[in-house]
Amino acid sequence: MNVLRVSKWTIAAFVLPCLLLYVGLVFVPILVSLYSGLLDWNGIGESKFIGLQNFKTLLFDDPVFWPSVKRTLMFAVFSMAEIPIALFVAILLNRFIKRPNFLVSTYFLPVILSVVIVGQLWKTIYNPAAMGGMLNQVLDMLNLHSWTKSWLTDPKIAMYALYFVALWQYLGYHTLIQFTGIQNIPSDIYEAARIDGAEGLKADWHITFPMNIPIFKISIVLAFIGSLQAFDMIMVMTAGGPAHATDVISTHMYNMSFLSMKYGYGSAIAAFLVVLCLIATVIINLVFNRLEKKFT
């Protein structure tokens, strides 16, 4: 029980500076954004209230919108598919390596780099061979000339090239999270299981998986919400091009608001994104509450 009885003024002095700044710069903008979604406005001149017109256009008449939603969701699927791989790596590290910290920190290195560094680095790697791009030079060296591509300017491939960079950057993060989770499982459980004849993969199936469910949740939320918000990396590498082939929800929003100057319309997309994030969080929490009840 909290012990300190203090006056209202004291409470206000402690909480309000933080709360006001936070509400003013996070919540108020979101509410402004929700409202601006109902306007026809270019950000400078007169705004006109047009009700749900922006949302109607967005959902039914925008050729870029649904494909960008699809790419956002694909992004989430790929990111989540990475988690089992990370878990596998974490199990291997935990079982076979005596001093795993060095390897774990090595895997983690890309995570701490700015998206600008990662994005520009991979842009350089994806460059045509004649511009010094490593990937195409490797393919040339292996005599796979027909495989060489302009990875970021071919609309069919560009998006996959981006997914890959995100997977590359965050593999270490998920591995570290899963690894920490595994290390927190008390080792006497495994010993008890060994006496009962369960070792190796069998023990993983019966112990590591169920005990790690809360950790999965952390990874899944991180991957899912992170993908819905995937933004900076795409802005750095392709800015949604070529011809909208790599647009996701947030880049579409940015391009609409800041390049096409459709502030109202951009806000409508922002509102959609916020709602999607909140819904996704609620669903993930519900699913995992069920799972945790079932397995623990």
């Binding site: 909290n2 300190l4 909480v15 936070y22 979101i30 950000g43 076979f96 700015s114 939320v221």
Partner: protein, 294 residues
């Protein structure tokens, strides 16, 4: 490796076979994990080598070869043409102020939420928690309009304020979680001795809370040091740009001098990598703590 224990005392032959199988598996695992380490690190190493080559060497296709003579000129070019130290200074300033702001505001709020007896503590916590789900990009446009009206657009204040705001939820979450675990007796005796609230906060709670505050510092540092899009949206003057923004505009402008681009990317990555070498354990722990925000 399934049955080592069960048969150990009876069949030595089976044990050696098992051991052999184990060492084969172990070798395979080692190879796999090393390959993975190489894929995670090689691109960075490649970049370093790339940054020391001249254009001819880069375009020649021998991506693996070391440069004939290291082109340090790429680095001096990058530093001179790219305002590297200006960007570095700006990033240092913005990140430091943000860190101090986050620590101050969130420790005060976390103290009130976790230690005061009042009705709305939980409600305030929930407000902070909801904020963690809000995508930062959705606030770019309204914030830009707000800042334009306050005429602080294109100042460091226009990025520091939202940086602090977006870092507070996780900071309050981490700090209040820790402060809740401090035993009540400590404060009770302090209150009996007549210590004021501010005194309790400064002399008792803050010193105990240094470990979680380190975590908050690390998270804030990594997030803010690397932040790009807000800086690129709210800042336009060359002399105010932070490092990621500066790196990005340099690289986009300087598209023919490949070596210099590589050098600037290396320089851009250098500070954070150096700090990572010094504090790897603390950073990985802090980032895991930060991931728990779901």
């Amino acid at each position: 490796m399934n049955s080592t224990l069960g048969v150990a005392s009876v069949k030595p032959a089976a044990v050696t076979r098992d051991r052999k199988r184990f060492s084969v598996v172990k070798t395979l695992v080692l190879i796999l994990l090393s390959v993975l380490a190489v894929t995670q690190v090689y691109p960075l190493l490649w970049l370093l080598i790339y940054s020391l080559k001249n254009n001819e060497e880069i375009l020649s296709g021998k991506f693996f070869a070391l440069p004939a003579s290291p082109q340090w000129k790429n680095f001096t070019d990058a530093i001179q043409a790219g305002h590297y130290f200006q960007y570095l200074k700006n990033s240092l300033f913005v990140t430091t102020v943000t860190m101090l702001g986050v620590l101050l505001l969130s420790s005060l709020a976390a103290f009130a939420i976790s230690r005061f007896r009042w009705k709305y503590g939980q409600a305030v916590m929930v407000i902070f928690l909801i904020g963690m789900m809000i995508p930062m990009q959705a606030t770019l446009l309204p914030l830009m309009i707000i800042f334009k009206n306050l005429s602080i657009l294109n100042t460091h204040l226009s990025i520091i304020l939202p940086y602090i705001a977006f870092q507070t939820p996780i900071a309050v979450f981490i700090l209040s979680g820790f402060m809740r675990s401090i035993p009540n007796e400590i404060e009770e005796s302090a209150v009996m001795d007549g210590a004021s609230i501010m005194r309790i906060f400064r002399s008792i709670i803050l010193p105990i809370s240094i470990p979680p505050m380190m975590t908050v510092c690390i998270l804030t540092f990594i997030n803010i040091w690397n932040e790009y899009i807000m800086a690129a949206t709210f800042i336009s003057s060359e002399r105010l740009k932070t490092l990621p923004f500066g790196v990005n505009s340099f690289v986009s402008q300087y598209s023919v001098n490949y070596g210099a681009i590589g050098a600037f990317l290396v320089l851009g990555a250098l500070p954070v990598i150096l700090i990572y070498f010094l504090l790897a354990d603390k950073i990985t722990k802090g980032m895991v703590a930060g991931a728990v925000k779901g």
